[in-house]
Symmetry: C2
Subunit: 249 residues, 2 copies
Amino acid sequence: MSLTLTPLIGLPMIQKGDDLAALALEALKRQGLKLQSGDILVIAQKIVSKAEGRQINLTKITPSAEASALAAETNKDPRIVELILQESQSVIRKRKDVLIVEGNLGLIHANAGIDQSNVEGDDTALLLPVDPDTSAKALKDRIDTACGTDIGIIINDSVGRAWRKGTVGLAIGVAGVVALQDLRGVEDLTGRTLETTEVGLADQIAAAASLVQGQADEGTPIVLLSGLNARGQGTARDVLRAPNEDLFR
Amino acid sequence: MSLTLTPLIGLPMIQKGDDLAALALEALKRQGLKLQSGDILVIAQKIVSKAEGRQINLTKITPSAEASALAAETNKDPRIVELILQESQSVIRKRKDVLIVEGNLGLIHANAGIDQSNVEGDDTALLLPVDPDTSAKALKDRIDTACGTDIGIIINDSVGRAWRKGTVGLAIGVAGVVALQDLRGVEDLTGRTLETTEVGLADQIAAAASLVQGQADEGTPIVLLSGLNARGQGTARDVLRAPNEDLFR
């Protein structure tokens, strides 16, 4: 009846080419955890990006004139701004120390999700996975085949928000899980049709797991969530609001 | 080591004047759950509002001219719009079927959080608690006194977002919990100072609990969260971004 979130412990620092499915399965075995269908593994974006080789050596980046101008305007490293522009569809807001874009994945976030923390070497940046939904599906298939299960995978990232301070975990890659729960037509306890018609289910799972993953030296980027009925065929794109329906860009 | 979220079951439909602290303590006892310091009870806004008598009989509301004009513009019930304006500091966006405001609590949300679902009678609306931080503190004090504990209380609501479809649980009242976790100066696994400096901890707790509370006929508005180190003196206001720092209003 309870929902439980359990961090997988003892994972190594992830390097390019590491087999995350194998590492997760080994960690589960060490901890005596047996996956059940419907369980969800939430995996921090950072280790997916590292395993997929999305580390970028900044010394090899030559900023364009556009990137250099934008870097001056926003007080940022021109090489990072060059990467942000490459990883983005459009700039949503810019200001000193702030650059918010619509990334190539359709996410609206600061710096196109490019991270310089937890990356070895100050001249290294880490990009988001090229296609996190596909990354999630590949991990799901590997683990389901090994365990005979039908699990869910969510790849999450910590993202800032309009109006509210503090980052929260969001689902940027989804497989085997409902991303956007449709409650249209569902009745409430009094028989009245619910006004809230859609729930950001995968994002809530991502936020819950973020509580356990820790932000710094804890280093538990994979979390097992059990006890939630959220099986489905969602993708991270299900949650994206179309520009013509979005009042805040 | 795991974080667990357990719904309290068997709560009655909450009415004005109900003693939520007593009802929560009875439910915990029925389920054989013993509170520990550091545990957090997450309580759905809806039952706090009901217990505090925030039901409004719409037949007694006379819309102002301003409310009537805005209701026509947004295709809403003029009586509801009158309440929204009373509960708001300013209108942020308006459009057919959409009215997004900065509420009196500083939250930016649709319809000032006024709800017509799960409220008995179609001519009834339910307002947010007048001061959810104070409501949370009062519940904490009652339960701590009864149990000899130092617990946290979060009052959560399901709120829509910029850019992304689907509501997520947000913390609108906080007591005994860190609301905004400050990571400035914390080093990551590689010894580099983290770039993400603030985490919306209470909102992530609110979202996690929302997974368990259910949205409709499940009816488990109180959730016990155990296993998280989040003790502190936060308030829901800690998370509000000042208008001059907010690029999206």
